[in-house]
C-alpha cells in the first residue's frame, strides 16, 4: 500500500473526529438545559429531571461526548425522546429509502452526463455543442424540488404514469420500488447531470489539446479511438472529483426531495426531529450524513489511485 493511502486514511479519521466535535458542541451550546428545551416551557420539573437522567445529562460534557462517540462506534445511537425507540432502529427503517435514492440519482446523472459531455467536446464550438451547453445552463438553474413538483404534475397528475409519492417497501419487490423512486431520482439527477456534463466536456476539451492525444492521432487512431483510449481516462480525474463533491449536494437535495414525494427517508426523520425538538435524533442523523460525505470523498480519493499510476508510489 502506498503512502498516499495512509495519508488519506489519516485525513479521513481526523475529519471524522473534528466533525463529531463540531456537531456535539453545536448541540451543546443550546441556551439553557437541553432537557427543558426539548420538553418545552410548560414541562413539570420532575419530567425534566427524569429526562436529564435518561439523556445522561448528569455527567460531565467530556464523558457525554465520549459515551456518544463510543456508542456510535458500536451502533448505539441513543434513544429517541419522542419515539421512545433506539435511534439506530429509526435510521435503519429509513435508510432503505435514502441510500437507494442517492445511488439511483448518481447513476442517472452519470448516465446522462457522460455521453453529453463526450458529444459536446467532440463537437467543440459548433452548433450542436452550443445547444447542448444551453440546455445544461438551464439544468443548473432549475431548483430540484421545483422540478420534482413539475414532474409530479406531468407524470402523476396528468399522465398518471407514476404515483405522486411514497414507496411500497422493499418486501413488495425490487421493480415497484425502483419505479416509485424514479421521479425523485430523476428530479435529483438533472441539475447534477448538467454540472457533470459541463465538467466532463471541459475536461475532455483540455485533454484533446494535450500532446499525448496528438501522439495517439499521429499513430493512426481515429478520433473516437483516441478519445476512448487516451482522452477519456485522463478526463475522468476531474470528473471523479466533482462526483465526490456532488454527493454532498445530493444528500442535501435528497432531504428536500423526500419532502416533495412524501418519502419516509432520512430527510423526513431529521425534519420531524427538529419540529419535535428530538435533539438526539438530529445529532445522530447529522453525524451520519457527514460521515457518509466524508467516506464517499475517501472512496473518490481511492478511485484516483486506481486511475492514476502516478499516485501508486512503488516501494
Amino acid at each position: 500500500m502506498s503512502s498516499y493511502f495512509f495519508s488519506r486514511l489519516k485525513i479521513l479519521i481526523l475529519s471524522l473526529f473534528f466533525a463529531s466535535l463540531i456537531i456535539f458542541f453545536m448541540i451543546e451550546i443550546i441556551p439553557g438545559d437541553p432537557a427543558s428545551f426539548m420538553l418545552g416551557i410548560n414541562a413539570e420539573p420532575e419530567t425534566v429531571d427524569a429526562l436529564r437522567k435518561e439523556l445522561g445529562l448528569d455527567i460531565s460534557t467530556f464523558e457525554r461526548y465520549f459515551n456518544w462517540i463510543t456508542g456510535m462506534l458500536t451502533g448505539d445511537f441513543g434513544v429517541s425522546y419522542t419515539y421512545r425507540v433506539p435511534v439506530s432502529e429509526l435510521v435503519m427503517a429509513r435508510i432503505g429509502v435514502s441510500i437507494p435514492l442517492a445511488l439511483y440519482a448518481i447513476f442517472l446523472s452519470t448516465l446522462i452526463a457522460i455521453p453529453i459531455g463526450i458529444f459536446s467536446a467532440s463537437n467543440h464550438g459548433n452548433f450542436k455543442d452550443l445547444s447542448f451547453m444551453g440546455f445544461t445552463q438551464l439544468g443548473i438553474a432549475i431548483p430540484n424540488f421545483w422540478f420534482a413538483m413539475v414532474l409530479v404534475l406531468i407524470f402523476s397528475i396528468y399522465l398518471k404514469w407514476f404515483s405522486a409519492g411514497g414507496v411500497p417497501g422493499w418486501d413488495k419487490g425490487f421493480f415497484v420500488n425502483l419505479k416509485a423512486l424514479t421521479l425523485p431520482a430523476f428530479a435529483l439527477a438533472l441539475p447534477q447531470a448538467s454540472i457533470l456534463a459541463r465538467i466532463m466536456r471541459s475536461a475532455l476539451i483540455e485533454t484533446l489539446s494535450q500532446d499525448y492525444f496528438r501522439t495517439a492521432r499521429a499513430s493512426g487512431l481515429t478520433f473516437f479511438q483516441a478519445v476512448k483510449k487516451h482522452a477519456f481516462r485522463n478526463a475522468l480525474i476531474p470528473v471523479l472529483t466533482i462526483i465526490g463533491l456532488q454527493f454532498s449536494f445530493l444528500i442535501a437535495g435528497a432531504i428536500i426531495i423526500e419532502n416533495v414525494f412524501f418519502l419516509p427517508g432520512i430527510g423526513r426523520l431529521i425534519f420531524q426531529g427538529i419540529v419535535q425538538r428530538d435533539l438526539i435524533v438530529v445529532e445522530s442523523v447529522v453525524m451520519l450524513l457527514v460521515f457518509s460525505v466524508i467516506i464517499v470523498n475517501f472512496l473518490v480519493d481511492m478511485a484516483y489511485l486506481y486511475v492514476d499510476p502516478r499516485l501508486r508510489v512503488k516501494k
Binding site: 453545536m26 438551464l138 443548473i140 397528475i157 463533491l245 454532498s248 460525505v293 466524508i294
Partner: protein, 273 residues
Amino acid sequence: MKFPISFILGFLLSLFFLAITVISFFWVPYDVETLNITNRLMEPSFENLLGTDHFGRDIFSMIMIGGQTSLSVALIAVGLGLFFGVPLGLISASWRGSLLDDIIMRGNDLIFAFPSLVIAILITAVFGPSALNAILAIGIFNIPVFARVTRGAAISIWTLAFISSARIAGKGSFRISLEHILPNILNLLIVQGSIQFSLGILAEAGLSYVGLGVQPPTPSWGRMLADSQTMISFAPNLALFPGITIILAVLGLNLLGDGTRDLIDPRLKDKIK
C-alpha cells in the same frame, strides 16, 4: 469591444431581477399583506400580471418582494464567503506547504463535508428558523469555496517569475498578495462570485421551501413554492411562476459569470489571436 451573447443575455436578466427587487422597496402593484379572498386563484390578466394566489394576493407583487429576501440572503452569503474565504486562500497560498496552509485546507475539507442544508439544520436546531439562519448556512458553505479558488489561482501566480522579481525588490508576502496576486485573480473571483450568488439563490429557495429559512409572512420565492405544493393539481400557476423566476434569475447570473469569463480571460483571447 465585442460582448459575448451570454454576457449580454445574463446582464439583461440580472438587471431585470435587480430592478424589480429594488423597485419593490418603494412600490408594488398590489399590497401583499391584505388578503382578498374573493379575488383568489385568478388567472393572469392585465390587472394581475401573473394571477393571484389562494389568498387573493397578486403573484407578481409577491415575486417582486420575494426578490428582496432571495437576493439579499444570497448576496450577504457571497459577501461572507469572500470576506473570510479570500484572505484565507491568500494566506494559504503565500505560506503554501506550511502547517498553517495544511490547517486551513483541512478545515476547508471539513466544512465541505457539511452540506449547507445540514449546517442550516444544525443552526435551526439550536436557534430556530430565520433568514439569518439561511445566510449563515449558505455563507459558511461559501467560505471554503472561495478559499479553494483563491488558493489554487494564487499558487499558480506565485510560481511566476514576476513574483520573484517583486520579492527581490524587497516586497513581503502581504504586499505581494495585494499588489500582484489579488489583481490577477480578481477576474476569477468575480466569475466565482456570480456563480456562488446564483447557487445562493437556489439554496435559499430550498431552505425556505423546507421551512428552515425566512418565516411567514415575509414572502420568498422558495416559500411561495412550498405554499403552492398542495394546490399544484388545480392551480399550477402558483408553482410555475415562482419556479420560472428562480430559473431565470439563476440562469441570468450564471450567464453573466460565463460571459464575464469569456470577456476577460486573456488565455482565451490569445487563442483567438
